[in-house]
């Protein structure tokens, strides 16, 4: 025992000394010791106790220390509550300072009795039990409070947060009974809670508001991998889920209901949506408080007698929610607090921290640090290894590492974090940076070509197809002078593409300048062309954009404005009804279901089937034009009416009015079926051979709503005079006495191309089937943004004919696939919007009225 005094435990109930209600570990005042400054600490948590440790380490005789803690227990390592919940640790294992520490250091601990007020005049504080304690120096370390979303049912029994040991005990008690748990919040805490509850045998659903898990720490790619892994482990992960209500019966929670109507059963609901600095005491005492308690670089508040540290503070505008910054804060605090009276030199103080994140879920390796929002001058270096489930991304700006996201292999996390914090110039190791520390510091060579050259002939290059270096070199020497040629001759790099870099090195080593660039890749983000991407989506059953990017080793983290819309289309085409249409990957017109104009307003074109209309439709259009002050209405080149000058906020209401008159979107904006142009045909025209108008309407009813590589236009003319201009359409029908001539690949646009005759058929039904089959062949084979005319020029009419007619049932099969896909496409996009879907795309955030505010 130290000379500072000796101690007795008072009010200490029998049994459990670490977890008792109101406990005071009190010391008797030393009889003869000189009067010391009284340091009182509010908060017996990680920062408060560490600050005391730092102070004692500098000057153990300076203060007479009393610590107040709301929790009825000694100081423990809060971050280890997750392993306690998961059953990997017991409470005893995570105690930082047991009762003996307080005793040995002459510290009075008052636990289980929260401080309720601070009186700065008298320099005293009062606890809930009425205890009044004087201080000379006060340290506030009250941490944070979990944020509770204000939804109905939040007070029900069984709704818990995840902050202290009591919360863990509540979760464990629930888990003992089994059943279902819903965790609201897919951030660090929420996922650790979900993991623990799942290990304890509960059926767990995580409801997360944002589309990506841990979106503050992870990018879309890593968030997707994390989600897939958690789903593989049996958790249900709901992203984009906005909680409307927590439902209950007899005062106990029974489930969670989302705003979109989905419901999930729950015997326990864990709210882990965020934390708020616990500033109530400080605010009431009149200290400067913004988001947190405002402190200077020495952790001193606006009252020089009061310091604050930990999650409750705001330092240089920043609040922290991780422990690493707290350690730095505590050092600065102690340096200053233990400074000799009259010493003129002030310690340097705390300058803020850069933080990094790891997730404590066993078997999931994830690391993130710094800024990875990209942009100016920032360059992404991405490495993916699909077979090992690895995604690594480092962000470099001005030759410095500014951010890193690692998934699957985090071994280099601390190395990157160190480079990041030190702001070191990474240009000497730039090429090797993404391969990690071992490679960058004295790996075989910084020149990847030299490293590849050093490989032995039987070294495996392509794991997917089992191709050795020798085989690749042989195929290059045999005439394969481009990446694409290597892929098609020896299959190396043809599957997942992860060895593309190696193959490129081999090409460079073997051929030098003679390497030929292969056919165009889809965009600069990938080494694959359109056809390969489409093939691999089917082969590997890829069903989401981030999954395609991971499996096909995309070089950028989230693609670009070229590949995202293409991938979205390829997925929708490959897996009708099975994939989510990614709105943020769509061009504005397809996102808004209207055509953007040069002034930022929109034009709206309702469908007029086959160019036919009626008084009801015309009246509805006229009403819309008047009601929304549309400055212009015009007959389009596609036989329908276009309403101009509609504001994005008004679109849903305009559509609702048009819907009410039975009209649906005309997709005048879409890479999809536009119009079916018709002439009057045999019903009226003296030359008409068939009912061209009727067939046009039928074709439009069959094909509308379908997403295609590019826009698609159809026309039906009633005789070879061809008034509907069918021979410059993507699919044109020219009626003749004996039936129907079917034409394809016409284009009236930039480069006029007359159609090729595909075939002649005798009946309307056959014409419809061939039309459906042709569209499907185009949908499945053309490149995104390639119209039928350039597609046919590229592949040849014979190829198209072979695809349709070589097998006697090809037409039937293609048409069946088309009709299946249409089951999921033919719902009017306007109806959903008019009913409120995607309202955020239409509504402004708010409106600023400066004049009003200035007057106020």
């Amino acid at each position: 025992m130290r000379s500072g005094g000796f101690f007795v435990f008072t009010h200490l109930p029998e049994g459990n000394p670490v977890n008792a209600p109101t406990t005071v570990l009190e010391k008797h005042p030393p009889a003869t010791a000189p009067v010391r400054e009284r340091l009182v600490v509010i908060g017996n948590g990680m920062a408060g106790c560490r600050a005391v440790e730092e102070i004692l380490a500098r000057d153990c005789g300076r203060f007479d220390v009393t610590i107040f803690g709301a929790e009825p227990r000694v100081n423990y390592n809060r971050i280890m509550l997750s392993p306690v919940l998961a059953g990997e640790k017991a409470f005893e294992d995570i105690v930082i300072n047991g009762a003996d520490w307080y005793a040995d250091n002459a510290i009075t601990l008052v636990s289980g009795d929260p401080v309720v007020s601070i009186d700065r005049e008298t320099r005293t504080l009062t606890t809930r039990s009425g205890r009044v304690e004087p201080y000379d120096r006060l340290l506030i370390a009250t941490g944070s409070d979990p944020f509770i979303i204000p939804v109905p049912g939040r007070d029900l029994d069984g709704v818990v947060t995840f902050r202290d040991l009591d919360d863990v005990d509540r979760m464990l008690a629930a888990a003992d009974k089994g059943g279902s748990a819903v965790v609201i919040g897919g951030g660090l805490l929420g996922l650790e809670a979900a993991h623990g509850l799942a290990l304890r045998g509960m059926k767990v659903t995580v409801v997360h508001l944002m589309p990506t898990l841990m979106e503050r720490q992870l990018d879309e790619a890593a968030g997707f991998l994390l989600k897939s892994e958690l789903e593989r482990r049996g958790q249900t992960i709901v992203t984009g889920g906005d909680t409307a209500e927590i439902t209950g019966a007899n005062g106990h929670v029974t489930g969670v209901k989302l705003k979109d109507g989905r419901t999930f059963d729950a015997d326990i609901v864990v709210m882990a949506v965020g934390i708020r600095p616990a500033t109530g005491l400080a605010r009431a005492a009149g200290l400067a408080v913004e988001r947190g308690i405002v402190v200077d670089d020495h952790m001193v508040t606006s009252d020089p007698a009061i310091m604050a540290v930990g999650e409750c503070v705001q330092h240089r505008g920043q609040c922290y929610g991780l422990v690493a910054p707290l350690w730095d804060m505590c050092r600065a605090l102690a340096d200053n607090a233990c400074r000799d009276e009259g010493a003129c030199e002030q310690p340097t103080g705390y300058a803020g921290s850069v933080t990094s994140t790891k997730l404590k879920v066993s078997g999931i390796d994830l690391f993130s640090a710094g800024d990875f929002s990209g942009g100016d001058g920032a360059e992404d270096i991405v490495m993916r290894d699909a077979s090992r489930g690895i995604y690594k991304r480092v962000v470099v700006r001005d030759n410095k590492l500014v951010g890193a996201v690692l998934y699957g292999d985090t071994a280099d996390g601390s190395w990157y974090f160190d480079l990041l914090k030190k702001g070191e110039d990474i240009s000497p190791i730039r090429e090797a940076l993404i391969f990690g520390q071992a490679f960058a510091n004295g790996g075989p060579s910084l020149d990847p070509n030299a490293a590849v050259a050093a490989l032995s002939d039987d070294a495996e290059i392509c794991g997917c197809n089992g191709v050795s270096k020798g085989q690749v070199v042989a195929s290059i020497k045999g005439g394969a002078c481009s990446l694409d040629a290597v892929r098609s001759t020896c299959k190396a790099s043809a599957s997942c593409g992860s060895c593309t870099g190696l193959v490129e090195s081999l090409l460079a080593i073997t051929l030098g300048d003679e390497v030929q660039s292969g056919p165009k890749t889809l965009c600069k983000c990938t080494s694959f062309g359109h056809d390969d991407v489409r093939r691999l989506i089917l082969e590997k059953e890829l069903k989401a954009i981030p999954q395609v990017m991971q499996e096909l080793h995309w070089k950028t983290p989230d693609g670009c404005a070229s590949c995202r819309p293409a991938l979205n289309y390829y997925l929708l085409c490959a897996w009708p009804g099975q994939v989510e249409d990614d709105q943020k990957s769509r061009f504005v017109n397809e996102r808004m279901h209207a055509n953007i104009q040069k002034d930022g307003t929109y034009s709206v074109v309702p469908r007029m089937w086959g160019g036919l209309t009626n008084p009801r439709e015309l009246r509805a259009i006229a009403d819309v034009v008047e009601k929304y002050n549309a400055p212009m209405v015009k007959v389009t080149g596609g036989q329908r009416l276009d309403i101009f000058g509609i504001k994005k906020e008004d679109l849903p209401a305009v559509w609702a009015d048009l819907n009410a008159a039975g009209m649906v979107s005309g997709h005048a904006y879409g890479k999809s079926l536009r119009t079916v142009k018709t002439c009057v045909g045999s019903e009226w025209c003296r030359f008409g051979t068939q009912d061209s108008t009727g067939l046009g309407v039928k074709l439009e009813r069959m094909t509308w709503g379908s997403w295609m590589p590019h826009k698609f236009k159809i026309a039906v003319s009633g005789c070879p005079r061809n008034c509907a201009e069918a021979t410059i359409k993507d699919f044109g029908v020219v009626c003749i006495d004996s039936g129907y001539e079917l034409h394809v690949g016409g284009n009236g646009g930039i480069k006029v191309r007359a159609t090729d005759l595909l075939c002649k058929v005798a009946t309307e039904a056959e014409a419809m089937d061939v039309c459906a089959a042709f569209i499907q062949l185009y949908r499945e084979q053309a490149h995104y943004l390639e119209r039928t005319a350039p597609w046919i020029e590229r592949v040849g009419l014979d190829h198209v004919k072979a695809g349709l007619f070589d097998d006697h049932d090809s037409v039937t099969r293609l048409a069946a696939r088309f009709r299946h896909s249409q089951l999921f496409c033919q719902d009017d996009p306007w109806a959903a919007r008019a009913a409120g879907a995607h309202a955020d795309l239409h509504q402004h955030l708010a409106e600023v009225r400066p004049l009003q505010m200035e007057n106020a």
């Binding site: 984009g240 404005a561 955030l845």
Partner: protein
Amino acid sequence: MMVGDWLDIGPVDQIAPGTARTLPVVGGEEIAVFRTQHGGFHALVNKCPHKQGPLSQGIVHGGVVTCPLHNWNISLKTGEAQGEDKGCVPVIPLKVDAGRIYLLRAAVLGQRAA
């Protein structure tokens, strides 16, 4: 809605990653508030330096938005056109605090036509 020099325009959750929303300023220029895929927030005057296209309606990738009218790429951080294109749109200083988005009041009002 006012907090000192900063204008509180609401919680971050109102803007989904990879999208933007708009903030009209009465008598001034409409502002586009962007959220990148990786949680970066940026505000620009909602007018492309090329021909005033509404940048809020473009596709956001990395720290860049592609203008919906003629595909210029505009940096969300500096407002500058990328690549060969030349031009710059005013950036409105923005900060995120306690889950809410704030715009620099003077810059918001400064966009007001004289």
